[in-house]
Symmetry: D2
Subunit: 280 residues, 4 copies
Amino acid sequence: MAHALGHNTYGKSGVHLVVVDRDASPHTVVDLTVDIRLEGDFGAAHTDGDNTAVVPTDTMRGTVFAFARAKPVGAPEEFGLRLARHFVDTVPAVQAARVGLRSTQWTRIGGDHPTAFVADTSVIRTADVRVGVGGAEVGAGVADVAVLKTADSGFSDFFADAYTTLADTDDRLLATRMTADWRYRAVDVDWNAAATEVQSVLLRSFADHHSASLQHTLYAMGGAVIDQCDDVADIHLLLPNVHHLLVDLTPYGLDNDNRVFVATQEPYGVIEATVVRDGG
Amino acid sequence: MAHALGHNTYGKSGVHLVVVDRDASPHTVVDLTVDIRLEGDFGAAHTDGDNTAVVPTDTMRGTVFAFARAKPVGAPEEFGLRLARHFVDTVPAVQAARVGLRSTQWTRIGGDHPTAFVADTSVIRTADVRVGVGGAEVGAGVADVAVLKTADSGFSDFFADAYTTLADTDDRLLATRMTADWRYRAVDVDWNAAATEVQSVLLRSFADHHSASLQHTLYAMGGAVIDQCDDVADIHLLLPNVHHLLVDLTPYGLDNDNRVFVATQEPYGVIEATVVRDGG
Amino acid sequence: MAHALGHNTYGKSGVHLVVVDRDASPHTVVDLTVDIRLEGDFGAAHTDGDNTAVVPTDTMRGTVFAFARAKPVGAPEEFGLRLARHFVDTVPAVQAARVGLRSTQWTRIGGDHPTAFVADTSVIRTADVRVGVGGAEVGAGVADVAVLKTADSGFSDFFADAYTTLADTDDRLLATRMTADWRYRAVDVDWNAAATEVQSVLLRSFADHHSASLQHTLYAMGGAVIDQCDDVADIHLLLPNVHHLLVDLTPYGLDNDNRVFVATQEPYGVIEATVVRDGG
Amino acid sequence: MAHALGHNTYGKSGVHLVVVDRDASPHTVVDLTVDIRLEGDFGAAHTDGDNTAVVPTDTMRGTVFAFARAKPVGAPEEFGLRLARHFVDTVPAVQAARVGLRSTQWTRIGGDHPTAFVADTSVIRTADVRVGVGGAEVGAGVADVAVLKTADSGFSDFFADAYTTLADTDDRLLATRMTADWRYRAVDVDWNAAATEVQSVLLRSFADHHSASLQHTLYAMGGAVIDQCDDVADIHLLLPNVHHLLVDLTPYGLDNDNRVFVATQEPYGVIEATVVRDGG
C-alpha cells in the first residue's frame, strides 16, 4: 500500500450540559455545550481496526456529566481545563486534548427571580482549552455579536481597477456580527472577570472608533484589548461586513441621505486578523 | 378541464429594512423584516397568464422602502397598518392584505452611546396586521424566547397504557422557547407600551406559576395576559417542551437529585393553545 | 376569571425513526421523522392541572417505536394511519389525531449494494394523516424541491403604480423551491405509486409550461396533477420565487443577454394556491 | 502602543453565481457559490486607515461576474484558478489568493429536458484553489454526503475506564455525513473526471469495508482514494458519527435485534484524519 496516516483527531461534539445548583439560594444555572477532541497514539485504530487505545466518544460524554456532578463546574475555562487534563493524565494514548465550550447566559426573570430564567442570547461566550505535553493553554471568546454604527464610518481612497464600481463614502452604516477569540497569558486567570472586561472593551472600542474601514476598526478593537486587558496574549477577530445598502429612492421622488437601508445576507465581506502583543 | 382555482395568495417575504433617524439625537434605529401577502381578484393570472391585475412583488418591496422614507416608521404595528391599507385602498384587485413584521431591538452600547448599538436578540418582537373588507385587525407577538424554571414544576398522574414508560415527577426542570401571538381589540392601541406589558406578564406568570404540566403553565400565562392586559382580545401560545433529561450518574457512583441535565433537541413535545376573553 | 380555553392541541415532534428490514435481501431502510398532534378533552389539564386524561408525549414517542417493530412499517401514509387510529381508538380523551411524516429516501450505493446506502436529499417526501370522528383523511407531499427553467418564462403587462420599477420581460430565469401538499380521495390508495406519479407530473408540467408568471405555472402544475392523478382530491402549492437577477455587466464593457445571474435569498416572492377538482 | 498586527486576510463570501449557456443545445447551467480571500500588504489599512492598497470586496464580487461572462466558466477548479491568478497577478498588494467554490448540480428534468432542471442536492461538490508566490495548489471535495451501512460494522475491545458505559458490539448501524477534501498533485487535471472518480471510490470503499470503527473505515476510504486516484496527493476526511441508537423495546414486550433505531443529532462523535501518499 502506498498510503499512510497523517494528522488525525477525534472526539465528541454537542454535549449539552445544564447544571442547576439547588443548594444556592437563589438557584444558579450553568449551560454549556462541550466539544472534546483528542490526539495521540491512535494509528492502529485507523490502520488495523485495533481499538485497544481508543477511548470511545461515548465515554467522553459520560465524563462530562460525571465531572459536572463531582465538583462545582466553575467557569467554562476551569471546567475545560479539568476535562482536558483528565484525558491527558489518565488515558495512556492521549497526547493532547482540546475542549471547546459554548456558554449560554441565563438571566433571572424580573431581575431577581430565584428559580426562573430567560436566556440572554445576545452574547454567546466561548472558551477553548488545550492541554498537551507542553502544558495548558486557555482561550476564550464571544460568538456572533451583532453590532452596528450609524456614524463615524467611511470607506474611500481604495485601490481601483477595471472591475471597480464602488463609490467612495465618508458616511455609511457599518454592521458586523463579531466573533472574537483571544488567548490568555496564564492558566489561573479570573476567567469570568476577564471575559467580561474583554467583551466590554470590544464593544466600547467598536462604538468610539472613527472608522476608515472595517480593517481599521478591527485593529482598533484588537489593539484596545491588548492595551487594556493585561491577561490577554493575542486576539483574533472575525468580522463579516453585514452590508446595509442605501436604497435608491429616486424612482419614488424621494431622497435618501443615509436614512433607509436594506440589510443583505449574501454576498458579504469578511475581515479577519489577529492582533498580538508587541514583542509577544 | 376538470380543475379550478381554490384559495390563493401571494406576496413578498424577507424585506429587511433598517431605518436610521439621523435627526434624532441620539440616533435611533428601526430594524424590521417585512412579509406582505395579498388576496383578491387574481384568478386570471393563474388560469390565463393575464397579469393585468397583478401588482408585482418587486413593487411591494419598493413600497416598503418608499413608505419608510416618506413618513416616520413608528411602531411595527403602525407601519404594517399603513402598508396593508395602502394595498387595499389603491390596488383595485386587492381585497385583503396581510403584513407580518419581525423587529430586532438595538440597544445602545454602554447604555447611552448616541450612534453605536448592539442587537438584543433575546426577544424577537413580531406584529401581524390584516386589512380587509371587514376592516383592520392587529396582532403582535414574541418569537422563540428561551425560558426555564428550576423549581415549581412537576408532571404526574397522567393517562397510562401499554406504551407508557415515563415516571411521575413532582420536581423537574421545565424549559421552553415561547412563541406567543395575541390579537388586539382595537386598531389604535399604544403599540409599544402594550407589547412591553404583555411580554412582562408572560415572563412573570411563567416564573411564578406552580406548574402541574406545560399545558397548565400555558393556560396560566395566557390567562394572566387576558386578565391584566385590557387591549388583548385573545392570545395563542406555542410552547415546545425543550426536554432537559436527568442524567443517570449511577454508573459513576454518583447521585443526581435534579442537578445535572442533558438538554436535548429532538424529539420534543409541543403544547399549543389559545386563551380567549370569556364571552369574547 | 374573565378568560377561557380556546382551541388547543399537543403532541410530539421530531421522532426520527430508522427501521432496517434485515430479513429482506438486500436490506431495506425506512427513515421517517414523525410528528404527532392530538386534540380532545384536555381542558382540565390546562385549567386545573389535572393530567388524568393526558397521554404524555413521551408515550407517543414510545408508541412510534413499538409500532415500527410490531408490524412492517409500510408506506409513510399507512404508518401514519395506524398511529393516528391507535390514538383515536384507544385513548379515551382523544377526538382527533394528526400524524405528519417526513421521509428520507436512501439509495443503494453503486445502484445495487445490499447493505450500504446514500441519502437522496433532492426530494423530501411528506405525508399528513388526520383521523377524527368523521373518519380518516390522508395527504402527501414533497418539500423544498429546487427546480429552475432557463427558457419559456416571462413576466409582463402587470399592474403598475407609482412604486413600480420592474420592467417587462419575455425571457427570464425562473426558479423555485417547490413545496406541494395534496389530499387523497380515499384511504386505501397505492401510496408509493401515487406519490411517485404526482411528483413526476409536477416536475414535467413545470418543465413544459410556457410561463407568463409563477402564478400561471403554479396553476398549470396543480391542474396537471388533478387531471392526471385520479386519486388526488386537491393540491396546495407553495412556490417561493427564488430570484435570479440578471447582473449588469455594462460597467465592465460586457453584454449580458440572460447569461449571468446572481441568485438571491432575500427578499423573495411567494406564490401560494390550491387547485381543486371541479365540482369537488 | 504595545500591540501589532498579526496574520490577516479578507475577502468576499457567498457570491452566488448562476450561468446559463444558451448557445448550447440543450442549455447548460453552472451554479457556483464563490468565496475569495486575499493576503498581502494590507497592514496600513489596519493600522492607519490607509486604503490605498485595498481592493474592495465589492470589486471581488464584480470580478466574479465579469469573468463568468468573458469566457466559458469551465470546471469549478478552473474558474477558481482564473480568479485567484487574476488577483495575484494584477493587484500589487496581493501576495496570495484563495478561492473556495461550492457547486450545485442541476439535473435535467425527465432525464433530457433541454431547458428545465431539478437540483441534485445529495452531493455538494467543492473546490479550493490557492495561488501564491510558490505557485498554485488545487483541492476539491464533497460536503455533507449522508451515507449509512446496515451491516459489516462493529465497535469493540476499546479502552475502558471508570467512565465507560458503552458495550461492545459486532453489529451496529453506521451512519455519517461525509465531508472530504483532497489536494491534487498538479494544476492541469481533468477536474470533472477526477472529482467523479474520487466520489465514486469514497462511496464504494465505505460500502464494501468491514468496519471495526469509524476510524477504520475513514482510513480505508482515504487509502482507496490514494491508491486508485493517481491525481490525488492527500485527502482529509471529516466524518461525524451520526448515532443511530438501538431503541429498547423490552418495556413493550418486543425484541429489537438491530431493527428499530432512533437517529440522534446531538451529541455526536467526530472522526477526522488525513491520509497521505506514502513518501509524499
